[in-house]
Structure formats: structure tokens, C-alpha cells
């Protein structure tokens, strides 16, 4: 097993005819993901290297049985594209696009909730289930199939940790990038819940960063609901308050959202927190092997 995506995933990519969308969509296909269709309004009937393109996501669902949508359209058109995906009948929407206005996402978040659709992102690298499927921009070569589930706000930091796990001889059940925006479709808690229920996952690595209180909420959830060991890493100890550190959500406002507060909340709930990505990977391997 794995979470969010697997061999049953039938992917439809919004923005497949664009430069980024075609590059990554076809890369996902080459990895073995079932790329069922692309969607670009007005370009229905065309194809991208043999993958049919439709005018709407609903058509891709009806004609090709697509069950997972990936959003690769520019920021100002992305929220309506996610809304369209939510209403199309797919089960999962993975939004890669960066820079979507946060109040648009607020509305879209509740649309997804009400429709019972799982939304991952936006501003995330996507999801990889090694050996099964890859949806997004995660470079699969740094990850082997295995027992460690990873959930992260950051892309490159995840690649760094995944690569260290691989070098130590361990692999992953899935890698889920939840994104670094203030409002994301799935929080740490949503993904922790999936890993807890996934028989293949034996340990969870959680990678957080400054801003918001998702890590603190996750600490509470872990204490009450997660029986599997969790190892965490938090980035941004040296970030000054009031400055946005790259990601739209990575900002310390007043006294809240600091890395120190997150680390303390996690440690108070028995989660080991690594000082560096390297140490985090080392602790994960040590805990996994008992």
C-alpha cells in the first residue's frame, strides 16, 4: 500500500499543453503513472504525445475514468481550475501552482471539504509513491520503496532527507508535499491519519517550517491518534520575525509560528526532532531498526 496515489491512480493534468505541465506530466507518465488525459479549454481533441486532451476535467472523468487531477495552470487561473476539478468527480486534486491568492484558497478549501474531495497543495511538489506512481515534480530517483512515510511543507528539504534515507538503505511508502502556503488543502494531520492507517508505513517523518500552527496541531494529534513512531524536522530557527522566508506561509508573526515553539510542542508529545536534515534521517533509521 501507499497513500494518496498508487497503481489505481488515473491522472488528468490541467495545463498539460503548457510547457511546465507537459514536461512534468510526461515525466510522471514515464515513471509509470497512468496519465489518462490532459485538459486545456479550447484544445479538446488534440493530444500531447498520444495523451488525449479535453476541454473540461469532467469530460476526462467521463471518457477516460480519471480519478486524480493535477493542477499546473498559472496562479491567477488556478483557483477556478481547482474548483472545476472538485466538481468534476475526481477523488483527489493535487495543486502544484505557486502564488494563488490566499482568500481564493480559503473558498476553494471549503468547496473541497464539502464535496469530500482530497486536496493536496497548492504550492507543493506533489506526491510520490515509490514504485507505483508519481504526481507532481518530486524527482523520483532519490527515493526507494520502503516503510517510511514522509510528509513535508518543503520540496528540496524532502529530497535532501529522502536521499539520506536511501543512502542509509531505507525507502518510503509515500512522500507527500503539503505545500508552504498559509492555506493548504491537506494539513499534517490529514496525512498523518492516512499513514497511521497504511499497513506499509512503519514510521513517519514530518518536515515542518516556521509559520502558522500546523506543527503544534500535529503534535496534539500524534499524542492522541498516532501509534506509529514520528520523527520531525523544523526549518527556520534563525528566521527573524516579520520576514517572509520564501514560502508565503513561512513567516513568524509576533510571538507565534516560531521554530522553537514547534520543536517544543512536538518534543512535549514524545516526537524526536532532528537538529539538521542529516540528523533527522539518522534518527529515523535508528528508530525504525529499533
Amino acid at each position: 500500500m501507499s497513500i494518496v496515489i498508487d497503481k489505481e491512480t488515473k491522472l488528468v493534468v490541467s495545463g498539460l499543453t503548457g510547457r511546465e505541465g507537459s514536461f512534468h506530466g510526461l515525466r510522471n507518465k514515464a515513471y509509470g503513472t497512468h496519465l489518462a488525459a490532459g485538459v486545456t479549454p479550447g484544445k479538446g481533441g488534440q493530444d500531447v504525445e498520444g495523451v488525449p486532451v479535453f476541454d473540461s476535467i469532467r469530460e476526462a472523468v467521463e471518457r477516460e475514468g480519471a480519478n486524480t487531477s493535477m493542477i499546473f495552470v498559472p496562479a491567477r487561473f488556478a483557483a477556478p481550475a481547482i474548483d472545476e476539478a472538485i466538481e468534476s468527480g475526481v477523488e483527489t486534486v493535487i495543486a502544484i501552482t505557486e502564488g494563488i491568492p490566499v482568500l481564493d484558497m480559503l473558498k476553494t478549501y471549503w468547496k473541497a471539504k464539502e464535496a469530500g474531495v482530497r486536496l493536496i497543495g497548492p504550492n507543493c511538489p506533489g506526491v510520490l509513491s515509490p514504485g507505483k506512481a508519481n504526481v507532481g515534480i518530486i524527482p523520483a530517483q532519490f527515493f526507494d520503496p520502503g516503510k517510511i512515510g514522509v510528509v513535508s511543507k518543503s520540496g528540496t528539504l524532502t529530497y535532501q532527507i529522502g536521499n539520506e534515507l536511501k543512502q542509509a538503505g531505507e525507502g518510503n511508502s509515500s512522500i507527500v508535499g503539503i505545500g508552504g502556503d498559509p492555506i493548504v488543502g491537506s494539513d499534517f494531520i490529514d496525512i498523518l491519519e492516512l499513514y497511521e492507517a497504511d499497513p506499509e508505513t512503519e514510521l513517519i517523518v514530518m518536515v515542518g517550517e516556521i509559520g502558522g500552527d500546523a506543527e503544534e496541531r500535529a503534535a496534539e494529534f500524534i499524542a492522541g491518534e498516532v501509534t506509529k513512531p514520528v520523527v520531525a524536522y523544523i526549518a527556520g530557527f534563525t528566521a527573524p520575525p516579520g520576514k517572509q522566508m520564501g514560502h508565503a506561509g513561512a513567516i513568524i508573526s509576533g510571538s507565534s509560528g516560531t521554530a522553537q515553539a514547534k520543536k517544543e510542542a512536538l518534543e512535549a508529545r514524545g516526537v524526536r526532532v532532528g537538529e539538521s536534515p542529516t540528523e533527522t534521517a539518522r534518527i529515523a533509521v535508528e528508530v525504525l531498526r529499533g
Partner: protein
């Protein structure tokens, strides 16, 4: 993007929220002229993006021309630090407004609640002081109510909130109107934080926003032309302005170790690891995904324009970014720029071997390769020397 008080008040005025009118001035002379036009008493208020201005001496009431001159002189050029160590922020502008006759000071705000995925309205009868302290010492005095972000929020819905907060009975309708309008400002201007502290009741029983703290979502600036212009004018740090022009994500810090990494998370992590190794980072610079050689030249131009920088660390884990492109960028930058400081380079991930070969073939002086993030951090700290 944070708005200065006077910019926030202008936004309020556009939405029908009462706020004192005034003038902005950047010299003592202009401030005095404004005070003369406005009349006395008037308030002279430092325009900096931080709370706690009053305590720091950045807000003064002038009773006459001599006092206006004295206060404007003291406030302009002052350095103000925030209550959580933010800044310092140099005062370049003051806002001069007519003095208000204050009968009561309240607090009202509408903020984005990231955890609950809703807007949150906060109201208190205890305004005019640090609201975090109120929340801690007397939590019942701060009434919090979530707002459904998918539809407009009305004054009728705001009414029970101001009632629960215990605002004076005769101004509750007006205060509820103001709260509903704050929510309207949030929705229509893409504001993620709107705080009015204090929201005053005047002697004439009018509800007036005496302060304004507004944060606009940077991702939404494309649909707010006027605010986007303010944003472009707001950057006064030369490196940050240069980085913005070149499309780089850069934050200036106080140290001497220049840092470039790819990805926001990895870059933050790199700053932390450098600090753990005893160093003091000079900046945050995320070269982003898929960086090409020119982006590296731009990044090095920005980093080295900070004279405090005595060594630079490149920490790259190539995913979409290809290490050979980064290496080409480093070689190009070395040819174009007069690099006077040592570079420590750690390349891992996609095409790292090709990248390392390119660097070896170029045999650049004062370039040090390290295999691990930790090793690279230690090396750059050693080469940078003490921050001074």
C-alpha cells in the same frame, strides 16, 4: 505586504470606516506645515511597520507649533524596534492628524485563521494596549468569533460579537457596522490581517479607527493596482530592491555569511545549520526550482553587493534544478564579477557529478567543495571569520 498606518487609514476611508484625516510628511518642515494646516492639538505619528510605536516614543501630541517642530524632529530618523525584536525600523515619514477627544478605547480586528481555515473577528473593550497581554491576562475580555469566508459578513452578524465584548450600548450598532466593514476590506482588498487598536469612541460618541494595521496578500497584488504600486515603493534596503528587480527571493539578515540555496525550506535549513556551526547568516536567498546559469550570476551579484559578506555558501540539492547549470553559473559569475570572497560549494542531487567536474575544470581560486551540508556549513563559517 504590510501597509503603513496612513495607507491603511486611506483604505479604511475608501470603505466608509471613519478615521482621522491628516497628512504624511518626511521632513520636519513639512510636518510643521501640516500641523499648522490641521490645527492643534495634533498627533505626530511615526510611520513604521511595527507595533509598540507609542511605547518607543514614536507617537506624540503637539499643542502648538513649537511642540510640533520638537516632536517631528525627535521622531523622524528615530530607530524603532518591535516588541518581539523586529527591526530596527528607521522612521522616514510621520503622519500628522488632528487630535481626537477619546471617551473610550476598544480593539477590533479581522485576521486569517490558518488553522481553522476561516476569518476570525476579534473585539475587546480593552483597547489601546498590547492585545496579546490582554489575551493572556484577561482572556474573557477578548471575544473571538469565526466568519464564514464563503459569503459576506453583515452588521447584524457582527452585533452579538460587539455585545459580548461589552462595548458601550449606545455605540454597538456603529461598532458592528465597523466590524462588518473590516471584513469587507479583508474580502475585497485581499487583506489577511486588519487590526484597529485603538478603535475609539469620541466625546461626540462617534466610532473612529485611530490606528490601522493592514497586511495585504502579496499573491493578490496583481488585482490591486494601487496597492501594488505602494509595494514597489516600500522596499528601502538596496539588496532587497535589487533582488526584487532580478526576480529573486531574498531577505537581508545581519551576519557575514552569504547564503544561496534552492528551495525555501532547504534555504531556511541552511541558515540554521550555519548558525549551529557558529556562523552568522547575511541573507536568505532561494534560487528557486530549475535555476539556470544567469540566475546564479544575478544571485551572486546581489549577495556580494552586501559589504558585510566575507564568505559565501552554495547549498544545492538538485531536484528539478540541475547541478551542472548551477556550476556553469558559478563559473560565469566568477568571470563576470570580481569575487573577492571565498565560495564554499556543496552540490548534490541531479547531475551533481557533471557539476563537480565543471567546477574542477575551471579551477577557480578560493572555491572550496564540500560533500555534505554540515561540512559545508563548518567550512564557510571558518572562512568567513568572526562577524564584525
Amino acid at each position: 505586504m504590510d501597509l503603513l498606518e496612513y495607507q491603511g487609514k486611506q483604505l479604511f476611508a475608501a470603505h466608509g470606516i471613519a478615521a482621522p484625516s491628516g497628512e504624511v510628511a518626511s521632513s520636519v518642515e513639512d510636518a510643521v506645515a501640516a500641523a499648522e494646516r490641521i490645527g492643534y492639538p495634533c498627533a505626530i505619528k511615526a510611520q513604521v511597520l511595527i507595533g509598540g510605536r507609542g511605547k518607543a516614543g514614536g507617537i506624540k501630541i503637539a499643542a502648538d507649533r513649537a511642540e510640533a517642530e520638537q516632536h517631528a524632529g525627535a521622531i523622524l530618523g528615530m530607530d524603532i524596534r518591535g516588541p518581539h525584536g523586529e527591526g530596527p525600523f528607521r522612521v522616514e515619514q510621520v503622519w500628522v492628524e488632528g487630535g481626537s477627544d477619546i471617551a473610550a478605547e476598544y480593539y477590533a480586528s479581522v485576521i486569517l485563521d490558518r488553522g481553522e481555515k476561516k476569518l476570525l473577528a476579534l473585539v475587546s473593550a480593552k483597547g489601546g494596549m498590547d492585545i496579546e497581554a490582554v489575551a493572556e491576562e484577561d482572556p474573557d475580555a477578548l471575544v473571538k468569533e469565526h466568519i464564514d469566508p464563503t459569503r459576506p459578513f453583515t452588521a447584524a452578524e457582527a452585533r452579538p460579537i460587539v455585545e459580548a465584548a461589552g462595548l458601550a450600548e449606545d455605540v454597538r450598532d456603529e461598532a458592528a457596522e465597523v466590524l462588518a466593514k473590516l471584513a469587507e476590506v479583508a474580502a475585497s482588498e485581499d487583506a489577511t490581517l486588519i487590526e484597529v487598536n485603538p478603535l475609539i469612541v469620541t466625546a461626540e460618541r462617534q466610532v473612529v479607527a485611530l490606528d490601522a494595521k493592514v497586511t495585504i496578500d502579496g499573491n493578490a497584488l496583481y488585482r490591486h493596482e494601487g496597492l501594488a504600486e505602494l509595494d514597489a515603493e516600500s522596499i528601502d534596503d538596496p539588496q532587497e530592491a535589487m533582488a526584487r528587480e532580478k526576480g529573486l527571493t531574498y531577505v537581508k539578515l545581519d551576519g557575514n555569511v552569504g547564503i544561496l540555496a534552492n528551495g525555501a525550506g532547504l534555504c531556511m535549513s541552511t541558515l540554521d545549520v550555519v548558525a549551529q556551526a557558529g556562523g552568522d547568516p547575511a541573507n536568505f536567498l532561494d534560487a528557486g526550482g530549475g535555476s539556470k546559469a544567469e540566475a546564479i550570476v544575478d544571485a551572486l551579484t546581489v549577495i556580494t553587493s552586501d559589504e558585510k559578506v566575507t564568505a559565501i555558501l552554495f547549498n544545492i540539492f538538485g531536484g528539478i534544478t540541475r547541478c551542472d547549470e548551477i556550476a556553469k553559473g558559478i563559473v560565469e559569475a566568477s568571470a563576470q564579477l570580481d569575487l573577492e570572497v571565498p565560495l564554499v560549494v556543496r552540490l548534490d542531487g541531479t547531475n551533481s557529478e557533471q557539476g563537480l567536474e565543471i567546477l574542477a575544470a575551471a579551477s577557480l581560486p578560493d572555491l572550496h567543495q564540500e560533500k555534505t551540508m554540515l561540512g559545508a556549513a563548518r567550512k564557510v563559517v571558518e572562512l568567513a571569520g568572526a562577524d564584525g
